[in-house]
């Protein structure tokens, strides 16, 4: 194996022999590489028995693939099985594995399924609506008294149930994170009769019904999975000991996004006196408001004097001007932020550039550019300006990468529209546009055709689906388009597929130009007939039959297989109607339903694969990635508030009195209940503003540190034209200006 050239901090980590170690790693410091190298080192050191493994736990599936391929490349192996001395998994997959190992410890049968968000939302919504129906005056306590009757009616019908759904979902998530099941919550509430907690009353009512519905469906939600994982570990000591023996070393990546429960699972697995390495960057904790994640856990772990603390401050990713900008953001937040409550949002260590002889040196400063566009634009103008800039830049940089990072998907779609209209080459990476969605979508279209073979529109779509991987050159595209147009006009599909007296194909002029199309249509007819005749097969076999002819890549075929198994399961005890299977596949295709365990879900996105095009994505999705040039949009006071009077916050609904953040208030009520403390209305709302603002500052930090060489930051005046630049934007713009001087 090639000898590794390591930075001092990396070498120190590779010298790890055991115990609890916390690593605070700045962006671009090479933590994936370092953890992979540590894994290889532990395996080679002979510290592991041949029935033991290093366990690497990370956040998303794309990271799993990344780790696996890196470790594999670092280990020698011959023609035997790839080394099984390590296992890389996400936390959810780990919990899934634990619960499936010993479902009996959690009161489950081994064939439980994990229900995705769409389905769980549907169950929750039904529970919420039932509860609200039984408690029609509940909203009176919280609605803004200044609403007109008409507004109030509209709110009660639409906005209020949506808000309650949100509250129920997040509070139940928190309850599960605190290992509080529905019965335990109800019992605790019963002790608070004199100090009512109305929001938690609602949550408790919904929670009970929701859990019963999950049980009826033989399902868990993702939060249950984590909860049950810990339950299983605590329920049987010998099982825990077996896993502790199997995994004597646990390496955790992205530890800043760990929740209490997730941390508890890993701590339990590591055991007191065990070996647990936690790597993360508290400055990049950007999922708090969506989840129960809290960077405080990692900070506390690192700051615990008992634990080994090894910072990784050196990064070769960005040029010095960008590093300085990022460091300035840290300092400004820590020392100068207008709102002292936000000074905890970011913390040291600063990012340090690499040494001169580093194998991955920083891009030269003279090649770098940092620009804060201080002029304010309307939202539309902002995007137009950015797109113009991209269009000028691209032709001169065909071998470099560029990204537009937006705070929300909606802005991303707006940018995509303009890019499309201006024929600017782009790649959209907004929703999970994964193989799962495409595969499901293709299958759904095929089944739609089989379900209604007399409809020309489905026949025409089938034609397109059949050609899904073939439309690369212009001639092919033209032929596919021509065929599609023609088939849409085929009034009587039976005259094409099974002509009786006249063949619809004969209407094509028998001229030379039409011959390729005609031949292709003849081939298509054979395929369409075959699939229609296969409709007699059970649904899983039908899906496989179509999939085996339609798909090429192993990932698509594997997904087809998995979908087939799921379709068979759905058909075994419920409907066997094709339309319901189509709906199921369609929901996956539209990303309305996740398909857990699908292997290429969120498969790693590699910016290097898209040189010469601009990538459009959110700042969240951009985390972990890097581009030569980065545009950060919408850095205004709405997207990056400072929790000062006058700032607006999305979770504070216009129809709620006193600008209360009911979601935060509900969670505060839950915590008061759990800790048997007093609850005071409004405190949580204020705290939520701080936490939200803090997270947005970290998001800005993430956005800045995506850039290798060039960073351009813009802001807009918002829908009503009344927004200004974010305070952080102004501070950094001033800094950059001063640096130039």
């Amino acid at each position: 194996m090639t000898e590794l050239r390591l930075r001092p901090a990396q070498q120190e980590i590779l010298n790890y022999t055991g115990g609890y170690m916390g690593v605070s790693a700045v962006p671009g410091s090479g933590k994936t590489f370092t953890l992979s190298a540590l894994t290889a080192e532990l395996i080679r050191s002979g510290k592991l028995g041949d029935d033991q493994q290093v366990l690497i736990v990370t956040l998303v599936n794309s990271a799993v693939d990344n780790f696996r391929s890196r470790v594999r490349s670092l280990l020698e192996h011959d023609d035997m099985l790839p080394h099984l001395g390590y296992q890389v998994t996400t936390l959810h997959s780990l919990a899934n594995r634990i619960v499936r190992d010993r479902p009996d410890l959690c009161g489950l049968a081994g064939d439980f399924r994990i229900m995705d968000e769409r389905e769980t939302n549907a169950l929750l919504r039904a529970s919420v609506e039932t509860w609200l129906g039984s408690n029609p005056y509940f909203s009176a306590d919280y609605l803004n008294p200044e609403l007109t009757d008409r507004q109030a009616h509209s709110v009660r019908t639409r906005d209020w149930p949506d808000a309650m759904l949100n509250i129920a979902r997040n509070s139940i998530k928190l309850a599960k994170d605190r290992e509080l099941d529905a019965n335990a919550l109800a019992d605790l509430l019963a002790t608070r009769e004199e100090h009512p907690l109305p929001l938690i009353d609602m949550v408790s009512g919904v929670y009970g019904t929701y859990q019963r519905d999950l049980q009826y469906n033989n399902a868990l939600d993702f939060d249950d999975l984590i909860r049950y994982g810990l339950m299983a570990l605590n329920a049987d000591k010998s099982y825990l000991q077996r896993l502790q023996h199997q995994w004597p070393y646990i390496l955790e990546d992205e530890a800043q996004d760990s929740s209490q429960l997730q941390q508890d699972i890993l701590r339990t697995l590591a055991g007191p006196g065990g070996n647990w390495v936690r790597v993360g960057d508290p400055n990049q904790a950007i999922y708090e408001t969506f989840t129960t994640a809290n960077p405080k856990h990692l900070r506390d772990f690192i700051n615990d004097p008992i634990n080994i603390d090894v910072p990784m401050p050196t990064s070769g990713r960005s040029g010095l001007p960008i590093i300085k900008t990022a460091n300035r953001l840290i300092d400004w937040v820590k020392y100068d932020h207008l709102n002292p409550s936000l000074r905890h949002a970011l913390d040291i260590p600063h990012i340090e550039p690499t040494a001169a002889n580093d194998p991955q040196p920083n891009p030269p400063a003279e090649e770098c550019l940092v620009h804060f566009m201080t002029s304010g634009f309307t939202a539309q103008k902002e995007i137009t300006k950015v797109v113009d800039s991209v269009r000028r830049w691209l032709p001169d940089h065909p071998h470099e990468t560029v990204a537009i990072l937006v705070p929300r998907n909606q802005r991303g779609y707006e940018a995509v529209t303009i890019l499309k209209n201006t024929d600017t080459p782009y790649v959209e990476f907004l929703q999970s546009s994964s193989a799962t969605r495409r595969t499901s979508g293709a299958l759904a279209h095929c089944l739609k055709f089989i379900n209604a073979p007399d409809e020309p529109k489905y026949l025409a779509t089938l034609w397109n689906v059949w050609h899904r991987d073939q439309g690369t050159d212009e001639d092919a595209k033209a032929m596919i388009s021509a065929g599609n147009t023609l088939l849409k006009k085929c009034r009587f599909v039976e005259d094409f597929l099974w002509p009786a007296s006249s063949d619809w194909l004969d209407q094509l002029e028998p001229i030379e130009e039409n011959e390729p199309l005609r031949e292709r249509l003849l081939d298509f007819r054979v395929v369409a007939r075959r699939w229609l005749n296969a409709a007699t097969l059970p649904i899983d076999q039908l899906a496989i039959t179509i999939g085996q002819e339609l798909f090429i890549t192993p990932a698509e075929l594997a997904l087809t297989h998995k979908l087939a198994v799921e379709l068979a399961r759905r058909g075994a005890t419920g409907t066997q109607d094709l339309s319901e299977h189509i709906e199921f596949l369609g929901e996956i295709a539209k990303n309305e339903r996740k398909f857990f365990g699908a292997t290429e879900e969120d498969a790693g996105f590699d910016p290097e694969q898209h040189k010469g095009k601009v990538v459009v994505t959110t700042m969240h999705k951009g985390k972990g990635l890097e581009w030569d040039r980065v545009y950060l949009l919408a850095a205004n006071s709405y997207g990056f508030p400072s929790a000062l009077p006058g700032d607006q916050f999305i979770p504070e609904k216009w129809f709620v009195r006193d600008k209360l953040n009911l979601d935060a208030e509900a969670q505060d009520q839950l915590m008061a209940l759990l800790h048997n403390e007093d609850y005071e209305e409004g405190i949580a709302t204020q705290a939520a503003r701080i936490e939200y603002s803090a997270e947005r500052l970290r998001l800005l930090f993430v956005g800045i540190t995506r850039a290798r060489k060039e960073l351009i930051v813009t802001w807009n005046t918002g829908r009503k034209g009344d927004l200004g630049p974010a305070a952080a934007f102004t501070a950094l713009a001033d800094f950059v200006e001063a640096e130039k001087e």
Partner: protein
């Protein structure tokens, strides 16, 4: 009398020697009708049936040799002596005969008893599982009780102290106990006999009676019992009593089997019978497995905790493995390898088997398709197939739903289109869809007349098809117009006979469809006869109930696979345990999904437990993860041993990173395999 004991692993000649024993006994003058051959399951009777047939060629009396199972023997004894025990056993209707329930009917009744308890009384509230599996596991508790000879009143008392003392779990076992008692009472109230009750009646009420013993002793004087290790402690108790009354007995025991533990088998208890033997013969030399492969198997089994003889005998040349990321890549590899063996190396397809611990229909179908494309004949081993999946079934039941509006089970347009497509000849799926769209009134669940639609639509459908459709429609209308409904099985027979089997209709030349129809009619009839005792004779109720139960998945409505299929020269795809129990060695075995959980781990069963409910498990002893691991390892080493004993040339292992469900998992087998390969294939080991 002499009790002879044969013992050894599979493939060492025990059955051959046993058949020789049988021949010797018949030649020595034993009356064939006095010879009883017992097996743990009827499907293992192949070699004995063949031996019986061969003997019958020279002695027609050989046809009276009885080959059966202990359970079947119990059942027929109960039937014969029913009046003797009905009252004592607590049955309510002494004037009526017993109604023996097959597995489906047993599950059906369990579902009817338990469902209200789930929905209204919060039973099993703390667990999450599919309801059909719950019913199955509740029945398992009863079966385990009878298999081990303890009272069904002891179910919770045995499970509770051993399995997790969480309060929620304790409630589960109390609920399971209550369900068992309610079910048993229901059976007694309605003269219904499922497996556990039948065995209990035999062992507790009949067998102790001198009259019954005498009857059996007069009929059978000689016994052969093969694969003892796969039968239950109750069968062992029976043998203990029976053996001293016989003139001769041969007991055959596979020393490393015991695959039916989950069905109540207890090899350790059966091994105790060896102490009664006068002569013991050990079989050690394998005739069916290469020594190198046995060594490989022994290495694996050694790692799993079984003391075995391992040597330096190199096995690498008898082993191939393929590591892929995804399942389809593995099936591609397997198909290509098999095609190469068959077409390039001249291996007969029947000498190749493809195995997985659990074989989903999707995997089975996917691999079969690939093999068919490569022109390799293939068959799947399934003891039975589900009627529900058959096109003929869905066609018949769709028309049945249309003919019985009282069922309130309105087929979808798609179902009607499919049924029309199957029922009429000369129609394509598109025109079938047109008929469904234009001539099917989904609101009323009726078919409209072809004559009443516009001429251009008639032309599209074609008049030939229209005429056939019209005949079918009128037949259905005429049936609906009758005052009384027929029993569903009668209706299906009539529909087939008067319409679908006629020329110009879909089942006329389709022999498979005709056969499926016959099986379906039989299934419905069986259902009507067994379930009818409690549901009454209202044909509407029974017909609707049959359809609903079939759709729920509760009623598998299986039918047996034909002889022709089982004897084809084709590659066999089968679940690993099913292959083992067929006991037919091959030259090449492909093990798929070696990484999967199923190789070495049992499926979780929250309301029952195959080990805790065993005779040998001390009541009150906690079942820990150590026990779980120990038994899993033991089962895996038995499985490996059994499979390798049945492989004479080469083992091909297919490993994927991602299993069928999309989960990444490194199971016990792949980890053990990795350890063995690393230990045995180092440069030092191969120097």
């Amino acid at each position: 009398m002499t009790i002879t004991w044969f013992e050894g692993p599979a493939g060492t000649g025990k059955t051959t020697a046993g058949i020789e024993y049988l021949r010797d006994k018949i030649a020595a003058g034993v009356q064939p009708r006095n010879m009883l051959i017992l097996l743990p399951q009827q499907t293992l009777s192949g070699p004995w049936d063949a031996a019986k047939e061969a003997l019958a060629e020279t002695d027609s009396n050989a046809a009276t040799i009885r080959i059966t199972t202990f359970a079947e023997l119990a059942k027929e004894t109960v039937e014969r002596f029913w009046p003797l025990i009905a009252e004592d056993a607590g049955f309510a209707h002494l004037d009526r005969p017993p109604v023996f329930l097959n597995l489906e009917a047993a599950q059906y009744y369990m579902s009817r008893i338990v469902r209200p308890l789930l929905d209204q009384n919060g039973y099993f509230a703390s667990i999450t599982m599919d309801r059909n599996r719950l019913y199955s596991q509740l029945l398992d508790n009863l079966n385990k009780a009878s298999a081990n000879g303890f009272s069904i009143n002891e179910i919770a008392a045995r499970l509770q102290p051993s399995l997790n003392d969480d309060e929620g779990n304790l409630r589960i076992f109390a609920d399971a106990q209550d369900c068992a008692l309610r079910y048993r009472q229901f059976c007694l109230d309605n003269n219904l006999l499922e497996f556990s009750l039948t065995v209990e009646l035999f062992t507790k009420h009949l067998w102790p009676k001198a009259l019954v013993k005498q009857d059996l002793q007069q009929r059978y004087t000689h016994l052969i019992f093969e694969n003892l290790e796969e039968d239950t402690p109750t069968a062992a108790d029976f043998l203990h009593d029976l053996l001293p009354t016989l003139q001769d007995a041969l007991l055959i025991y596979d020393s490393n089997a015991g695959y039916r533990v989950f069905l109540g088998a207890d090899p350790a208890v059966m091994l105790g019978l060896r102490d009664l033997a006068d002569e013991t013969r050990q079989f050690t030399e394998s005739h069916t497995s290469a020594p190198e492969l046995q060594n490989f198997g022994n290495h694996l089994r050694n790692r799993l905790g079984q003391k075995t003889q391992i040597s330096d005998l190199r096995f690498r040349d008898h082993l191939s493995f393929e590591f892929q990321r995804f399942l389809p890549q593995m099936t591609d590899w397997a198909a290509q390898e098999i095609a190469s063996l068959v077409h390039d190396q001249g291996v007969r397809p029947s000498e190749i088997v493809v195995l997985a611990p659990f074989l989903s229909d999707a995997l089975r179908y996917s691999l079969s398709n690939r093999l068919a494309t490569l022109e390799v004949p293939v068959r799947s081993h399934r003891p039975s197939r589900s009627l529900r999946d058959e096109r003929a079934t869905t066609t018949l039941l769709t028309f049945a739903a249309l003919a019985h509006p009282s069922w309130e089970n309105v087929p979808s347009r798609y179902q009607v289109a499919q049924a029309i497509s199957a029922a009429l000849t000369g129609i394509d799926p598109v025109r079938a869809q047109l008929i469904s769209k234009v001539l099917y009134d989904i609101k009323t669940g009726t078919l409209r007349s072809f004559a009443n639609i516009k001429p251009d639509m008639q032309a599209r459908i074609t008049f030939t098809v229209g005429e056939k459709f019209e005949h079918l429609r009128q037949w259905l209308d005429a049936y609906r117009a009758q005052e009384t409904e027929m029993a569903l099985d009668h209706f299906l027979s009539l529909l087939f006979g008067e319409v679908l089997s006629q020329p110009e209709y879909g089942f006329h030349s389709d022999f498979d469809a005709a056969q499926i129809t016959a099986y379906l009619v039989q299934s419905v009839r069986n259902f009507r006869r067994t379930v009818g005792t409690t549901l009454g004779t209202d044909v509407t109720v029974i017909g609707r109930e049959y359809l609903a139960t079939l759709q729920e998945g509760l009623l598998a409505a299986s039918y047996p696979v034909t002889e022709k299929e089982t004897q084809a020269d084709a590659v066999l795809i089968a679940p690993a345990y099913t292959f083992l129990l067929r006991n037919a060695p091959v030259k090449h075995q492909f093990w798929l999904n070696v990484n999967a959980r199923g190789w070495g781990e049992r499926i979780g069963q929250p309301v029952t437990h195959p080990y805790v409910l065993r005779r040998g498990w001390p009541t009150g002893k906690l079942w820990t993860d150590y026990d779980e691991t120990h038994f899993n390892r033991d089962q895996l080493q038995r499985l490996i041993g059994g499979l390798i004993q049945r492989c004479s040339e080469h083992l091909h292992l297919g490993i994927t990173e991602i299993d069928e469900s999309g989960n990444e998992y490194q199971g016990l087998l792949v980890r053990t395999l990795s350890q063995v390969l690393r230990a045995t294939m180092t440069p030092e080991a191969n120097a």
